[in-house]
Amino acid sequence: MENEACKKKITKAEILKDIVGILEDMTSDWDMEFSGPIGPETRLMSDLEFESIDVVQFIVAIEERFKRRNMPFEELLMEDGRYVDEITVEDAVNFLYTHLQ
């Protein structure tokens, strides 16, 4: 079933807003040094201290929010058969913008 976001031709700004919302929900009760607002430049690993389990949780939350399964998240997460060292919010937005069209 085609999701609503696709029908409206979702913009990068809308995706960014949703991604930031997901990340704010996930990290609201975390004890971390990062205190600034989450934006395109925010780094999931270095700033938000994401570990593997948080990345999985992030993916599941994205799939639920955008009502899309089976997006090739490996492209975002993997390089040479292993997890990448860093993902920025902008990386995630660009990935979704490509695969939600």
């Binding site: 690993m45 994401f50 593997s52 389990i53 999985v56 949780q57 599941v60 490996e74 997890y83």
Partner: protein, 306 residues
């Protein structure tokens, strides 16, 4: 993702895919993300896969006690019941395999097949010394150079190393050594700092360490009565090959595969090899199960028995 209350403890789980059921059970000092990229994603093309965080791990709750394989088999039982899974293939790495084995002994009717990946079975391997490591001299040199200490008479070498690797003083070393097999625990994304802190909290504030050491009733006698088709996949340089030899001796329907040049973390280091072997085993079991459920009626017509 969802949660259940299992004997008063919140357990985090996730289900994905369609088909026959497979449950993946991770080992100590990690969480369900252990399986995500290399095992869960390929498996969900053919199976409905359930993963969960062991109590005291990941997003599951950390109760003050109840960490034996029997307690954790109880959590698995509650998850299967909650999801309405009548029976499933169980795939466990390390301590997760011991939970799968214990569950098969307690609830044989709920298990279709077993995959034990580099599992230490305490009844078959009561002690784990550094000298049990096939390359132990090389490993010992590396350990000493890094300033880690494992005494010759230490009978819980892995638990001893895990505790040291989790300590805050290893924070930087963990980042530098990322990807090195010895440093796989706590060397994942973000340096594994929260994972390390969670492990220290678990071993220092609960009965976990004593519970991990308990047989909890899974004796050799009980193991020898487990009749499930079992695949034991171990690394050639594993520290728990004594368990593999014991399984081959005592489990009636166990076959083994040894992955060359890798140790305990072979599912992460040789993921393609691991998933190919597991898929071949599971598909073979399912194919045989389908055939055995079919029979010929007196008129020669093929009938579905169940």
């Amino acid at each position: 993702m969802g949660t259940i209350h299992s004997n008063g403890v919140v357990i985090n789980y996730r289900c994905a895919g369609f088909g026959r059921d497979v449950v993946l059970i991770h080992g100590l000092a990690t969480n369900h993300a252990f399986w995500h990229l290399n095992v869960l994603l390929p498996l969900i093309k053919k199976y409905r896969v359930t993963v969960y965080d062991l109590r005291g791990h990941g997003y599951s709750e950390m109760p003050p006690s109840g960490y034996t394989t029997a307690d954790m088999a109880g959590d698995l039982h509650n998850i299967l019941n909650h999801l309405g899974i009548r029976s499933a293939h169980l795939v466990g790495h390390s301590f997760g395999g011991a939970i799968a084995l214990h569950y098969a002994a307690l609830h044989p009717e709920r298990v279709d097949g077993l995959v034990l990946a580099d599992t230490r079975v305490r009844a078959l391997q009561p002690h784990q010394r550094l000298k049990d490591w096939p390359d132990w001299q090389k490993v010992a040199e590396r350990i000493e150079k890094l300033g880690l200490v494992v005494r010759d008479d230490e009978t819980e070498a892995s638990l001893c190393l895990l505790e040291q690797l989790a300590s805050p003083k290893w924070r930087e070393a963990r980042k530098k050594c990322r990807g090195e097999p010895l440093f796989i625990p706590f060397s994942g994304l973000g340096g594994g700092n929260r994972l390390a802190e969670q492990w220290l909290k678990l071993i220092n504030t609960t009965t976990a360490v004593e519970d991990f050491k308990s047989l909890a009733g899974l004796t050799i006698d009980k193991i020898s009565r487990i009749n499930h088709q079992t695949l034991a996949v171990y690394g050639e340089k594993s520290t728990v090959l004594q368990s593999l030899r014991g399984l081959m001796e005592h489990l009636p329907n166990c076959r083994s595969v040894v992955i060359p040049d890798v140790g305990h973390f072979h599912p992460l280091l040789r993921p393609k090899k691991f998933i190919d072997i597991v898929l071949q085993f599971l598909i073979g079991l399912d194919s045989n199960a389908s055939k055995s459920k079919r029979g010929l009626s007196k008129t020669g017509r093929v009938v579905q028995i169940r």
